[in-house]
């Protein structure tokens, strides 16, 4: 079984680990780092439930190999309230009813976070475009979009 050593930052902490070359980042996050907030919905890059932020960009962690993360900065849903306070997105998701079963929520939050980091004041169309790769079967997206809009710089307080 081939392994490689990777050094990376996960939710603000630097770590070095030996990882199997055939292991996905999703599996590594969930089963090795035991950060189970990140979900597997399809394992084929189609549903977005496994979205994490890698070097500032939202990625499907099932489509990235753990061996690729050497030198990378990874943020998972657990990082959002890492400081002890909830992120504005988390508060707005609750306030707007953007959460139902909650399975897509971590991935949706990370996509939204990456969007707002790069574009603090997105239009409704830009929000829809950004979350188009994150499937949600419960909400019909309306309240998710409202929550993201409300979290943006131009959103109401």
């Amino acid at each position: 079984m081939n392994t490689v050593s990777v050094t990376f930052t996960i939710n603000g902490e630097k770590e070095t680990r030996q990882v199997r070359t055939d292991m996905t980042l999703l599996k590594f996050i969930r089963e090795t780092l035991l950060l189970t907030g990140t979900k597997e919905g399809c394992g084929e890059g189609e549903c977005g439930a496994c979205t994490v932020i890698m070097n500032g960009k939202a990625v499907h962690s099932c489509m990235v190999l753990a061996a690729e993360i050497d030198g990378a900065d990874i943020q998972t849903v657990e990082s959002l309230a890492g400081s002890g306070e909830l992120d504005k997105l988390q508060l707005k998701f609750m306030e707007h009813g953007a959460v139902q079963c909650g399975f897509c929520t971590p991935g949706m939050l990370m996509t939204a976070k990456a969007l707002l980091n790069s574009n603090p004041n997105p239009t409704k169309a830009q929000i829809k475009e950004a979350i188009a790769g994150n499937l949600c079967r419960c909400t019909g997206y309306k309240q998710i979009i409202a929550a993201i809009q409300d979290s943006s710089r131009g959103g109401r307080k």
Binding site: R30, E31, L34, L35, T36, G37, T38, K39, E40, G41, C42, G43, E44, E46, C47, A49, T76, V77, E78, L80, A81, L86, Q90, F93, M94, E95, G97, V99, Q100, C101, G102, F103, C104, T105, P106, L109, I127, K128, E129, I131, A132, G133, N134, L135, C136, R137, C138, T139, G140, Y141, K142, Q143, I144, I145
Partner: protein, 803 residues
């Protein structure tokens, strides 16, 4: 402090879900858990000649290999027709044939490949209409031997798993008196639930004989009960724990993969066996929504009143119908939708085929039959030149009407006319719209399809600070039951909502009983149980207060957390753990309130006529309207607005009910314009078992605008007047879309989904832009048959000309 019910409260499970703390089954990782994999049938219909597991068993790392001969046991909820693993034969592609448990996923997958199964192919049948014929291959030759509940009527030595009949009035004579008779056929394909979380279960069998299962399920108590039957155990030997469920929509109702994990666990005692389905397995190996072939023949008078109707639903149950037979029944007692028709002949027939297994899906048959009913109503309205809203007002149920089973509609049943008017107003019904843009409307009705003895229970236990832990076993599958129950509890106890802690994720060892989380029944049924549990607690404390006040319990008043009689009063917090007098002696003790609820007076339908004065606990009615445009070049639909109104009796939480409405609309839109599970009729294989090939709506597909509003005609036996609505929100969407597409283009699509291809083909067939009035539709978009020698509806252009 009566301000909890009706409050826009945030979800009590929201924090766990936005932080990633909420644990789903796959997130549970017990040390040393074995990985399970299933071997699925590659054939739609074949005899199993032999199964050789020797090589798989010898593979290092494999701990258990099992197949049908190890556990020749049947499971099923309403109709016990399915083996845990296929025995004599396989009946659909994807049917479990064997399973393994191994140290890791790779080894389990290798072991699966080493199992050798020899099949002898049998002739498959994928068409339920053919399946009803004598010449069709019998898929279940032992149908007559299966156990089924009394409300189900299988026909022995056929492929018919259930036949529900409605015979009301005298349709033959009424058809003869009709001014116009219109008959149409419709089709609904199989679709998939696509919960974001696939099915998962973990089982542990201990040497003590105790079996514990962690399952992503909608019905932990039903799983426990069916498992005890299946494995011939005492119910107490089995414990089912249900963590958060990542979407159910019906596919996690009843019992699914749990017995497979238990069967494997029994072979390796002391070790957890974990089975998480892949997305591909989820798409067709567990359950899907049933397909349905529909025929409706209606006779109307000149004023637009429906005099007589025949509704025939031939359901494609797929290979097994343990749950599907009850959808057949539900479609039977709801046969003509929300309409008042005195002369009715209804047949709802469930037929086995060699397709994937049909089962519960949000709406439980109602979305399927409303696809046809609500288009038929529009067709009738057009034929008579009556506005579709007006036509529905003429014919929809109202107080004094009798529904299909003969049940009397009263002022408390729910007001569909108000819903209809609200939706029409929201959409601006009648307004002038540009070419290729139009409105469509559809009604919905649904009752909770549950056995008449389905029961709920709840426990309210007080803590030292006058707050409570609320226990119940309705599953939080996203619909917001935890929050609604907390609100009902706080409202009844007259304490702040923050004082209620919901212990809502059931463990059958500790949680009070709940039949199942299905049928939009929890707000009503579990809500009543919670309300009664809170009332029971208050009653207990009134009795203790009465002793302290030295009066009768009836004379004690409880209000806003205080028990009082005249000028004497005791606060709730002083009494909920026992009241201590100044000298130290104490009366009473820790208060635990308990409540249960079972709908009263529900009577099974007569097997010959369908008659029942009360077939179900209640009905929820609603209406939905769509404003859309069709691109004449591409056939592509743009949905500008969807408005819905439901009579829910009482809105417990505006925030979560709106979420149900928007989510239901978009799921209904998916079923309406995108979704269809495609089975190759040569091989029986599902051709689109992935999210690449089976599209569900994304944020880019959603309607530009959605509105939801609610009518509150109190349900007399509902908690605070409430009735269910979770499923209803997706029922009318596909038909409303199809009606709008017809108004926009003149193309009537009877075969769900409404795709651009079908619209374009219909438009070209109608040849709108040429002067050739003899053009005929190329696509079989309509098979309208009418009396009185009028031309087929869809070759006409009058609708567009009128505009």
């Amino acid at each position: 402090m009566k301000n909890s019910v009706g409050k826009r409260a945030q979800r009590v499970d929201g924090l766990a879900k936005v932080t990633g703390c909420a644990k789903f089954v796959a997130d549970l990782m017990p040390g040393g858990a074995l990985c399970a994999k299933i071997l699925h049938s590659p054939h739609p219909h074949a005899e199993i000649v032999s199964i050789d597991t020797t090589a798989a068993e010898k593979l290092p790392g494999v701990k258990a290999v099992i197949c049908g001969r190890d556990y020749p046991l049947h499971t099923g909820l309403y109709h016990v027709d399915q083996y845990m693993f296929a025995m004599e034969k396989v009946r659909y592609v994807g049917e479990p044939v064997a399973a393994v448990a191994a140290l890791d996923e790779k080894t389990a997958a290798q072991a699966i490949d080493l199992i050798k199964v020899r099949y002898r192919k049998l002739k498959p049948n994928f068409d339920p209409i053919h399946g009803m014929k004598k010449s069709a291959p019998l898929i279940h030759p032992n149908l007559h031997k299966y156990f089924h509940v009394s409300a189900i009527n299988p026909v022995p030595h056929t492929n018919i798993a259930n036949h529900f009949k409605i015979r009301k009035g005298d349709p033959d004579s009424a058809f003869k008196k009709s001014f116009c008779i219109i008959e149409n056929r419709f089709h609904v394909p199989q679709i998939q639930h696509v919960p974001m979380e696939t099915h998962g279960a973990i089982a542990l069998a201990e040497q003590t004989g105790r079996i514990t299962v962690w399952s992503s399920c909608q019905s932990p108590f039903t799983v426990r009960y069916l498992m005890a039957n299946c494995f011939k155990r005492e119910i107490g030997d089995i414990r089912v724990i249900a963590p958060y469920v990542g979407g159910g929509f019906g596919c996690k109702a009843g019992i699914n993969i749990e017995p497979i994990t238990v069967a494997l666990a029994l072979k390796c005692p002391g070790r957890h066996v974990k089975l998480i389905l892949t997305r591909e397995e989820e798409m067709y190996t567990v359950v899907v929504r049933q397909a349905c072939h529909i025929r409706i023949k209606s006779g109307v008078d000149r004023t637009g009143r429906i005099l007589a109707q025949e509704n025939e639903y031939i359901w494609d149950c797929g290979a097994y119908a343990g749950y599907g037979v009850n959808i057949v029944r539900a479609a039977g007692y709801s046969i003509c939708g929300a309409y008042n028709i005195d002369n009715l002949k209804g047949d709802s027939i469930g037929v086995y085929t060699n397709r994937p297994v049909g089962s519960a899906f949000r709406g439980f048959g109602m979305s399927e039959i409303h696809w046809a009913i609500e288009q038929q109503m529009d067709i009738l309205a057009h034929e008579l030149g009556i506005d579709p809203v007006e036509f529905r007002h003429i014919n929809a149920l109202k107080p004094g009407s009798h529904n299909a089973t003969g049940e009397l509609v009263t002022v408390n049943t729910g007001n569909i006319h108000k819903c209809l008017d609200q939706v029409a107003a929201d959409l601006g019904w009648g307004k002038k719209l540009p070419k290729y843009r139009a409105l469509g409307i559809a009604l919905a009705q649904k009752a909770p399809a549950m056995p008449n003895n389905a029961t709920s229970s709840a426990v309210v236990k007080f803590n030292e600070n006058g707050g409570v832990e609320l226990l119940f076993s309705g599953m939080e599958i996203g619909q917001g039951v935890m929050t609604a129950m907390a609100q009902i509890c706080a409202e009844t106890l007259e304490i702040p909502l923050e004082k209620v802690t919901v212990v809502g994720l059931p463990d059958t060892d500790y949680s009070p009983y709940e039949w199942q989380t299905v049928a939009s029944r929890l707000t009503f049924s579990c809500g009543n149980a919670v309300k009664k549990a809170a009332e029971d607690a208050i009653c207990q404390m009134k009795i203790i207060s009465a002793g302290i006040f030295k009066v009768r319990a009836d004379d004690v008043v409880y209000k806003n957390g205080v028990f009082s009689h005249k000028n004497k009063s005791i606060e709730l917090v002083q009494i909920c753990m026992g009241y201590q007098f100044t000298d130290g002696h104490t009366v009473g003790g820790a208060i635990v309130g308990r409540g249960h609820f079972t709908a009263e007076g529900c009577i099974n339908c007569d097997p010959d006529t369908g008659y029942s004065p009360k077939p179900v606990a209640n009905w929820t009615f609603g209406a939905q309207g769509v404003d859309l445009s069709v691109c004449p070049e591409t056939g592509r639909i743009t949905i500008h607005k969807v408005s819905c109104t439901y009579d829910v009796g009482k809105v417990i939480n505006p925030l979560t009910i709106e979420g149900q409405a928007y989510g239901g609309i978009v799921q209904g839109m998916g079923a309406g314009i995108m979704e269809q599970l495609i089975v190759d009729e040569q091989t029986g294989m599902v051709k689109n078992p992935s999210l690449v090939d089976y599209k569900i709506p994304t944020a880019l597909d959603m309607p530009e605008e959605m509105t939801a509003s609610f009518v509150e005609t109190a349900q007399l036996d509902g908690p605070f007047g409430a009735r269910g609505v979770g499923e209803h929100t997706m029922i009318p969407t596909p038909a409303a879309i199809a009606n709008a597409v017809y108004h926009a283009t003149g193309v009537r699509i009877m075969d769900l989904p409404v795709t651009p291809e079908k619209i374009l083909s219909g438009m070209h067939g109608l040849d709108f832009d040429s002067k050739d009035s003899n053009a005929k539709p190329e696509q079989p978009v309509s098979r309208s048959k009418k009396k009185r020698g009028r031309p087929p509806l869809y070759a006409k252009k009058w609708d567009r000309v009128k505009r």
